[in-house]
Symmetry: C2
Subunit: 211 residues, 2 copies
DNA sequence: GGATGTGAATGCATTCACAGCA
DNA sequence: TGCTGTGAATGCATTCACATCC
């Protein structure tokens, strides 16, 4: 099978989110045009994206919503639950542990780590904050494949290295710094300030251009 | 001047972040190769990106770090402070208000709103949570151009409409739903679950492909 | 020598447009 | 008729490669 373009996988999650919204409205079928318009995309792009994974639609009808949801979940790997760990129990870390939507989407945070001794042992619901030294055995015991980094920038690379060594397969990095991982480990990064800077840029620069 | 490709503005923030890191290490100059490698990009791309905005480097030398930082900040519009408001004082909202890095990067959260009467009047530092009815006058009084939405999905579009009507120029949406705004308003969206789904996809699907 | 700045060439992603099926 | 699936055509982004300058 062909290699999947990067952008396709990013949109796949959005398709799923939108399909579930249509399902809540009791829609049985949906066309590529409707799905696309709800996300600001063209119908051709929706069809092409889905086409990388198989033939899911029916000419003249469109896609069966429930069916396509199941298919996309299998593709994304969210038809089963993933155990996830969090490193960094600060402001953001606490919000992420409390974030209900993760569990609803199949991501269960089952362990929390912090390097600050004062935080170790503190409980968030059923989960006690652990020392980083316990990473390897907890990862093995709980079969954890995904990790979220929410530590200050200076600690992020060290934490990432420890996670990789302990066998983590994917990392979501919220620390405002670039981290390196081997190509065998999936990496996704979000910098909250960068998100605002992009808005600032558009308002400041792009918008004054057409004058 | 030419229109700036989308991807360029996204990388500009990363260049700034990396340049500031080099400055903390007392580096005076940096080449496009070094800057690129620190972010996993090619030297040609760094030069081409910066080239959209002017000629900032010196052949044989590279870029002056302090100088380039100032230039990029002006381009991004973060050479001055932006007042920002937040709607939704839940788990995530509280973490965002407490997020120190925003202020350090020139984004000051000066007002917080929530639709839940039980939360109105609660204080986060010097900021009291306000009712949404106060949006227009607070936006005008505090000269707020940027807004962060951190409300549950069902409320997001309504909130966005109110923000747009009240004159907000840019919106960062954390609600897990697509929202529509007029083209004159800048929009950036992050769905935390989608970020994990992309990792799940890479591990589940992409990685098994080479076999 | 060592680096930038930039047209030209390549490669990737999106859109078009239409055959084919319900 | 209405819609999918998909090669072909277009458009956008990245990389190459080299003239140019410190």
């Amino acid at each position: 099978m062909d290699v999947i373009p990067n952008r396709v996988s990013q949109r796949l999650s959005l398709y799923l989110r939108q399909l579930e919204a249509f399902q809540r409205l009791d829609r049985r079928t949906i066309s590529s045009l409707q799905l696309g318009q709800s996300l600001g995309l063209t119908d051709a792009q929706v069809r092409k994206d889905l086409g990388y994974f198989g033939q899911f639609g029916r000419p003249g009808i469109g896609y069966l919503v429930a069916d396509l949801i199941a298919k996309v979940k299998r593709i994304l790997g969210t038809d089963k639950t993933w155990n996830v760990l969090l490193v960094g129990y600060g402001n953001l870390g606490r919000a992420l542990v409390a974030h209900k939507e993760f569990a609803a989407k199949g991501f269960q945070i089952v362990a929390v780590f912090d390097s600050d001794n004062a935080k170790i042992g503190r409980k968030s619901g059923a989960i006690a904050v652990q020392a980083l030294s316990e990473l390897p055995c907890t990862i093995a015991r709980e079969r954890i494949a995904l990790a979220i980094i929410a530590v200050p920038p200076d600690g992020a690379q060290v934490v990432a290295d420890q996670l990789v060594n302990a066998g983590i397969k994917g990392i979501l990095n919220f620390a405002p710094v670039s981290i390196n991982v081997p190509p065998s480990v999936a990496l996704n990064a979000v910098d909250l300030s960068v998100l605002l800077e992009q808005l600032s840029f558009q308002i400041n620069f792009q918008k004054k251009d057409p004058n």
